[in-house]
Amino acid sequence: MKLTLKIWRQKDAKDRGKIVDYQLDDISPDMSFLEMLDVLNQQLIDKDQDPIAFDHDCREGICGMCSMYINGRAHGPDREITVCQLHMRSFSDGDTIYIEPWRAKAFPVIKDLVVDRSAFDRIQQAGGFISVNTSGNTQDANNILISKHAADTAMDAATCIGCGACVASCKNSSAMLFVGAKVSQYALLPQGQVEAADRVMNMVKQMDEEGFGNCTNTGACEVECPKGISLENIARMNREYLKANLKG
């Protein structure tokens, strides 16, 4: 396959950055998208140019590191996958492909396609946990009965990989799907009830302070989420937040 790539290049956080064009030949449809970029980087190194910086690690769709806006879509055109799981067979010979970093004020660019997502960490630090000591001297695991439905629904929420595609694809750069998923996981489990009110209040407060936008329910996040996390989780968070506020 022959491709024209239009890639965002930005030397560091202070640089203005611009789109740069690259031509690439001999790409196999069996390559993953990141392997295609490996090929490009190899060629750039051979030509004594700076290779394109992009985040990636596990390359099997679970670490949440890879983060590219490809042809106007988070993680590219396919559904329910990350960039590393996207294969070149999803494109055609002669295609022009735009590759940009996640765009959000709360995710500043570090270099090229690499962004700083530590805002997500700070939201979790504000309350994304259950305050249980790690002594192992808790009650026996089977003393807490959890209905299969609740466990499965909590698992569906917990499956979030924290990649930030929800923020990137939201026209408002809202992080509500990410926060909603975490709030939901704990809200659905009996272990999470004790701190439920504080948790949602603190996490939402931190989310707002980080500069994410407001959710307007366009549903783009749900479509682009590589793990198919449902909008239901945002509704649940809204409920939890209302409940917490009414409690005072």
Binding site: D30, C58, G61, I110, V132, L189, Q191
Partner: protein, 666 residues
């Protein structure tokens, strides 16, 4: 040899850990505030250790090279975590878990460590459930279990096919709580490049800020490494791209012995290599072997027809298929341990029965399971059990519920629908049982330097059983290290803060800077990947699933030559003072090029077959691994300059509570 004291407590096996805990020195809460601990790596071991140490009151500085602790590669573990809860009432016990692990490890692990692991395994489940890890439940609301290779009970707890992710997020949440409280200072996108030894004790590290390129000094009273395994020495593996041996190797160069480097686990169920462009191999969870049957065609003519695309595997008659695991190992069948399953696949493919174009793939077939589940469902729902279309549909639904995400992953990569045609799988490097040598306290041969999780060598012997890596990582981090490190730190309550303005820190920092400068200014001809790929080829071909003296000797020569070439001809673009992934990679590959040689050297001296280490010279007439009594030791290597000069120390392994038998899964 005098240095290799395992410090295993005296007394009966089952009381060792309890008695030990009763007698160790503790640090009182007020004094813990005066003590700093550095934890490198934030996977299951490092993450859980950081959280627990912080909770106990120590000041923890945690480091990871990823952009968040949540991204450590523990996240990719799919299948589950073992624990001797015996919830299923199928005869499980602490002893049985201990027994299975020692036997599965081919009698090459330390009894006392493994028994302790089995003891604390039950706490892991309690802990994780309390933390909100959404383990799978049955309809009664109780925890569900599945079974894994190499054992006869169901003791594996799981959260869909993402157990590692959920456990890691649990540890990450515990860390977040402590970061929020200010007890952990988190350093993301930082890579440790050296350990600093002051007066014979580990007192800090040199780290590089991967965003700015800045070299930083960090001091502490003890340093803990939870930096994972070194399987990326093979270039292609199921490891994350960034997984590396650097931290462990630097520790080794500073005096920590490196144990059993040749023990590598080759996982039987990975997606086969598709071409030269490949950067990474993808694992399909071992849990698939619960329902999938592994086979190749019985006749060469069918193999050729399949490779040419003239014959569909689904059309091959039952009697023309060779279910070779069921044939060779009737007792365990498709659920034999990983090393056995991998070698059997290699044996068939080497004999010319591989089913894809490269000849390196076997089938993992779900057709029977679909039929079986379909019938079951039809019966339960009172539907027609002879309607094959209906059975097929119902069966697929069950398979989808159990393995949906894995099947989807397979289809994305291979572009074939595994519900309709059997999956193709082939073994790939997946885990390293070897690692930094540690004593019972998880301390290396350098005082104050600890090593936990996959990075150490201790619990899995020569082969790890499925779902035991998660167990070990969390056991070390939550329940073992926090106790044992206190015993050491109790001597440090009056030490006060460790200064970074010492000669030792100067020396280490200069060392790191010189090396980075050398890489940046080398201006050679070839990229880092070029060398990494070549190293991988040597490792896979000569130190892979089966090894022999000739190959290993060649490998030692070739790796040494490649290393020399690397330092002469490697090209690293950019500068050291910026975000420069090529530079980070170059440092890691340079270390792999040293480790690789030690790996081959270790494999060469171990003239026996055990677990993941298979020496062609030592096999039974049926081609099974042949262990030798005289090699019942841990080989721990001391660094002496070049890998070839490394000095071997032996820790003899004593089995008092388990009979060393031929490991048979027939």
């Amino acid at each position: 040899m005098s240095k290799l004291d395992s410090r295993t407590p005296e007394g009966p096996l089952k009381d060792k850990w309890t008695t030990y805990k009763d007698k160790i020195n503790l640090v009182n809460p007020a004094n813990k505030r005066l003590i700093d601990v550095i934890v490198v790596g934030t996977g299951l071991a490092g993450g859980s250790a950081s959280a627990t140490l912080a909770e106990l009151g120590y000041n923890v500085k945690a480091f990871c090279f990823q952009d968040s602790p949540r991204r450590a590669h523990s996240i990719a573990a799919q299948g589950g975590v073992n624990a001797a809860k015996n919830y299923q009432g199928d005869g499980d016990s602490t002893y049985r878990l201990f027994y299975d692990t020692v036997k599965g490890g081919d009698y090459r692990s330390r009894e006392a460590n493994v028994h302790r692991l089995a003891e604390v395994s039950v706490n892991i489940i309690d802990q994780c459930v309390a933390q909100g890890v959404p383990f799978a439940r049955d309809y009664g609301g109780l925890l569900d279990n599945r079974s894994f290779g190499g054992v006869l009970v169901s003791r594996t707890f799981y959260a869909k096919g993402q157990t590692g992710q959920q456990l890691l997020l649990g540890a990450y949440s515990a860390m977040n709580r402590q970061i929020g409280r200010g007890k952990i200072k988190m350093y993301n996108r930082h890579e440790m490049l050296d350990v600093v030894i002051v007066d014979g004790k580990a007192r800090g590290i040199i780290a590089r800020n991967l965003v700015t390129g800045e070299i930083e000094r960090h001091s502490a009273h003890a340093v803990v490494l939870g930096t994972g395994g070194y399987g990326n020495a093979f270039y292609l593996s199921t490891y994350a791209m960034g997984s590396n041996v650097t931290a462990a190797w630097k520790a080794h160069k500073r005096g920590a012995f490196f144990a059993n480097p040749c023990y590598t686990q080759i996982h039987p169920t990975c997606i086969p290599v598709s071409g030269d462009h490949q950067s990474k191999l993808t694992l399909m969870s071992e849990s698939l072997r619960n329902d999938g049957r592994i086979w190749v065609p019985k006749h060469k003519k069918d193999v050729e027809a399949i490779r040419e695309g003239k014959l569909k595997p689904t059309n091959l008659a039952e009697e023309d298929r060779d279910y070779y695991l069921e044939r060779r190992y009737p007792a365990f069948g498709n659920l034999v341990p990983r090393d056995v399953a991998s070698r059997a696949a290699k044996e068939r493919c080497d004999a010319g029965y591989g089913v894809n174009k490269t000849g390196e793939a076997v089938y993992l077939d779900f057709a029977d399971a679909i039929k079986r589940y379909g019938k079951e469902q039809a019966h339960v729902k009172g539907l027609d059990e002879d309607d094959s279309a209906l059975i097929n549909k119902l069966g697929k639904e069950i398979i989808k519920a159990k393995y949906g995400n894995l099947f989807q992953m397979y289809e994305k990569i291979v572009d074939q629908n595994p519900y309709e045609t059997p999956m193709m799988i082939y073994p790939a490097v997946h885990y390293t049982m070897g690692g930094v040598w540690v004593d019972y306290n998880l301390m290396t041969t350098v005082p104050g330097l600890y090593c936990i999780g996959e990075a150490n060598f201790s619990d899995h012997g020569a082969n790890r059983l499925g779902a035991s890596a998660l167990m070990q990582g969390l056991a070390d981090g939550y329940f073992v290290l926090p106790y044992t490190i206190g015993d050491y730190l109790s001597d440090d309550i009056r030490t006060g803060p460790i200064s970074v303005d010492s000669q030792e820190f100067d020396e280490a920092e200069n060392n790191v800077k010189d090396r980075l400068d050398k890489l940046i200014n080398n201006n050679g001809k070839y990229s880092v990947d070029h060398f990494h790929k070549r190293l991988g080829k040597i490792m896979w071909n000569k130190c892979g699933m089966s090894r022999n003296e000739k190959d290993l000797k060649e490998a030692i020569e070739e790796i040494a030559a490649l290393r020399e070439e690397f330092w002469k001809d490697v090209k690293v673009p950019g500068t050291a003072n910026e975000f420069n992934e090529e530079l980070a990679k170059a440092g890691r590959v340079a270390d792999f090029l040293e480790l690789g040689e030690l790996f081959a050297k270790d494999a060469l001296q171990r003239e026996e077959s055990c677990g993941g280490h298979f020496r062609e010279e030592h096999q039974t007439p049926e081609g099974e691994a042949k262990r030798r009594k005289e090699f019942q030791y841990v080989s721990a290597w001391e660094y002496k300059g070049e890998p070839k000069d490394a000095v071997l120390h032996k820790e003899e392994l004593v089995y008092e509570n388990i009979e060393v038998k031929e490991r048979s899964y027939k």
